[in-house]
């Protein structure tokens, strides 16, 4: 086993990874940018190395500087966390040329899954279901219609040269097809100078469900069940939960097996996640594979009792999985809310700045993976995530009520957060019954008036009392200041001390 590991990341994930390393009696090295001198992960590490200016491209993304930091501190392995260099094949390859171990899959596995078209090809060969679509461009409307009918309506006609939603057309029935097809070709030709179009099945309001997998170097691969990540906005996940409330046991098993097949197809090693789209009939289709630890991994840890980071480190050190698929524990339900310094009432704009006070909830079934502390800044330069709040319950209802309780306990002052928005989601009927899909949040935002303000009068009372206490305190200080040497200033100090003891201050 390693005796020292460098964590090439920042914020909550760096802190979370270091926690597992400490439990494994491994020394920890943090790297930080000039903007992160006072960041929590620097405080929590055994050693810390500054790797450059605030811009990620000059610090956290600098392969040379990270490797140099590992060399100078004598770290034997690097954990990349998520984001930054975690899915960078070049980084993994550069490390392979040193004696420093990359805690993650092989560069070729990262590459295979990183390129969409190649990943699709590989997955098709491995028997992983893909969203049905024509493999090549079609120029004949009759042939295209036959294909569309095979997939079932609605379908999507997509320009081969398009991207980012451009050049896409949804067709709901065979009668509209011929016209839409010709129109799409004309549009594609006009917009991209290329009339080629594909036909793909359009999934109506699918769920985003993913499977956690673990694989060792000897090819033992297991899955650790699913996570439903459909509560998202602009492809940003907000709340994740496991199990997925609408997934049948049969589909869960099938999905798990397919995820294992997908991982095996690229000789995967370490922890990874296979993402699927799940439609209302229980059909699921491969979306992509993330070749790293996911933000939402804690909910899987909560229901399985397995520390995924420890296994990542162990596997990288050459350990074999001690668990067989049938032995993977599964107990209860868990959910995660991502607490961001952002303003939901202002298009979710980041709200960086001073976290004057942060008080995390505690108590039964609550886990808080925070990346900041009272008095710290949420820097402008990076992701504004403050914390990941996770709850576990014997069942979904308990996990949900725990989350609501924990969110109400959570205190963050100074920056704006999405705490109240989370409560709104958790109390929405679509969330409560678990039927929500990836379009749930956009729909909710349309019909939403604004946050509830039932505590308005109490909040005013608190603000007024606070202002009054401050006014009196200022007056008292002024009084002290003006009093002469023979005045009652000593007794004033005494009374101030008494006041403090009584916490009446």
């Amino acid at each position: 086993m390693f005796s020292k590991v460098l964590v090439a990341n920042r914020g909550e994930i760096a802190v979370r990874v270091m926690r597992s390393l400490k439990e494994m009696d491994i020394e920890t090295v943090a790297v930080f940018s000039e903007a992160d001198r006072s960041a929590l992960h620097v405080r929590k590490a055994d050693e810390a190395v500054c790797v450059g200016p605030a811009a990620s491209s000059e610090s956290y993304l600098r392969i040379d500087k990270i490797i140099e930091a590992a060399r100078t501190t004598g770290a034997e392995a690097i954990h990349p966390g998520y984001g930054f260099l975690s899915e960078n094949a070049e980084f993994a390859r550069a490390l392979n040329e040193t004696d420093i171990t990359f805690i993650g899959p092989s560069p070729s596995a990262i590459e295979a899954m990183g390129e969409k078209t190649r990943a699709r090809e590989l997955m098709e060969q491995a028997g992983v279901p893909l969203v049905p679509g024509t493999p090549e461009a079609i120029d004949d409307a009759t042939v295209a219609l036959a294909e569309a009918e095979k997939m079932g309506f609605p379908v999507l006609i997509k320009a081969a040269a398009g991207g980012g939603g451009k050049g896409m057309r949804r067709v709901n029935s065979a009668t509209e097809f011929a016209n839409a097809f010709e129109a799409a070709r004309r549009e594609a030709s006009g917009a991209f100078g290329n009339a080629d179009v594909y036909v793909e099945k359009f999934l109506v309001n699918p769920k985003h469900v993913e499977i956690q997998i673990l694989a060792d170097r000897e090819g033992n691969t297991i899955h650790l069940f699913e996570r439903d990540c459909s509560v998202q906005r602009r492809h940003q996940k907000i709340i994740e939960e496991t199990p997925c409330a609408t997934l049948s046991e049969e589909t869960r098993q099938k999905m798990g097996q397919v995820a294992v097949q997908a991982a095996e197809a690229v000789d995967y090693e370490g922890a990874g996640t296979v993402e699927f789209l799940l439609d209302a009939e229980g059909n699921f289709y491969f979306l992509e594979m993330n070749t790293r630890l996911q933000v939402e991994h804690p909910i899987t840890e909560m229901i399985t009792g397995i520390d995924l980071v420890k296994w990542q480190v162990g596997i990288a050190a050459g350990e074999t999985l001690s668990l067989q698929q049938e032995d993977v524990p599964r107990n209860g339900a868990a959910m995660e809310c991502r607490i961001y310094a952002e303003d939901p009432e202002n298009e979710f704009r980041p709200s960086p700045g001073l976290v004057s006070r942060i008080e995390a909830p505690a108590g039964p079934g609550v886990r808080d993976d925070a990346g900041t502390y009272s008095g710290a800044e949420v820097p402008l330069e990076y992701d504004p995530m403050v914390s990941k709040l996770v709850t576990w319950g014997e069942d979904r209802t308990e996990a949900l009520w725990r989350m609501k309780r924990a969110l109400r306990e959570y205190v963050v002052t100074g920056v704006k957060t999405n705490l109240q928005f989370h409560l709104e989601v958790l109390e929405h009927p679509e969330f409560v019954d678990g039927s929500y899909d990836t379009q749930f949040v956009p729909r909710m935002m349309e019909e939403r008036g604004g946050p509830e303000k039932s505590n308005g009068e109490l909040a005013e009372l608190a603000a007024v009392v606070a202002a009054h206490r401050r006014a009196e305190e200022l007056a008292r200080k002024a009084g002290n200041h003006n009093s002469g040497p023979n005045s009652s200033s000593t007794s004033r100090w005494k009374s101030l001390g008494r006041y403090r003891q009584l916490k009446r201050f």
């Binding site: 004057s356 006070r357 008080e359 009272s374 969110l407 109400r408 959570y410 205190v411 963050v412 002052t413 100074g414 704006k416 957060t417 705490l419 109240q420 989370h422 409560l423 946050p451 509830e452 303000k453 039932s454 505590n455 308005g456 009068e457 109490l458 909040a459 005013e460 009372l461 608190a462 603000a463 007024v464 009392v465 606070a466 202002a467 009054h468 206490r469 401050r470 006014a471 009196e472 009584l502 916490k503 009446r504 201050f505």
Partner: protein
């Protein structure tokens, strides 16, 4: 000993609400709400940015963060931005608003002192420059004159009152105000 203080609250709606707080013994306060109801509140600050209130037995564990005159208040998951102005800040706000818009109705004291004489009464029409109040400060009497012409709507002070800087001495409405 402690006088009661008035606070004006702006809670984001256009509404402006008046509160009054008087300090009692032992961290207790008598609060008059905007609707006139009076309640007693027990307050402690258990930690930075925290204020705990007992409001007639109800426990309110609030978090507060002050930026200028605005308090960001969190109670449970709800968050409120509440601007609180004391009497002086409110007068200054009004004065600023009027400087921008031309002609504040309020004549405010430029000094702290003792009111020795009031030379006008409510309802009287005055010209700018007329003496309204005499305030003694530093053993000198100062004539405080109407800052504009109009009808006296209010004179909140009387001889013998002590006043602070920016306290309102008179409110002078437009001459043909309805």
């Amino acid at each position: 000993m402690s006088r009661s203080r008035e606070y004006t609250v702006f809670n984001g709606d256009d509404e402006q609400r008046s509160w009054e707080v008087e300090t009692l013994e032992n961290g207790r306060y008598r609060v008059t709400k905007p609707d006139g109801e009076t309640i007693e509140v027990d307050a402690i600050a258990p930690d930075d940015d925290r204020l705990h209130l007992l409001v007639e037995g109800k426990s309110v564990d609030a978090a507060l963060f002050r930026r200028d005159s605005t308090y960001q208040v969190q109670i449970d998951e709800q968050r409120h931005d509440i601007e609180v102005l004391n009497e002086r800040e409110l007068r200054m706000r009004a004065a600023e608003a009027v400087t921008a818009g031309g002609g504040s109705p309020q004549l405010v004291s430029p000094m702290a002192g003792l009111v020795v004489k009031v030379d006008a009464e409510v309802g009287q029409t005055v010209e700018a420059g007329d003496r309204i109040v005499v305030v003694e400060a530093m053993k000198m009497e100062n004539d405080l004159e109407a800052h504009r012409s109009g009808v006296i709507e209010e004179i909140p002070v009387q001889a013998g009152d002590s006043v602070e800087i920016d306290d309102v001495l008179a409110v002078i409405g437009e001459p043909d105000d309805e």
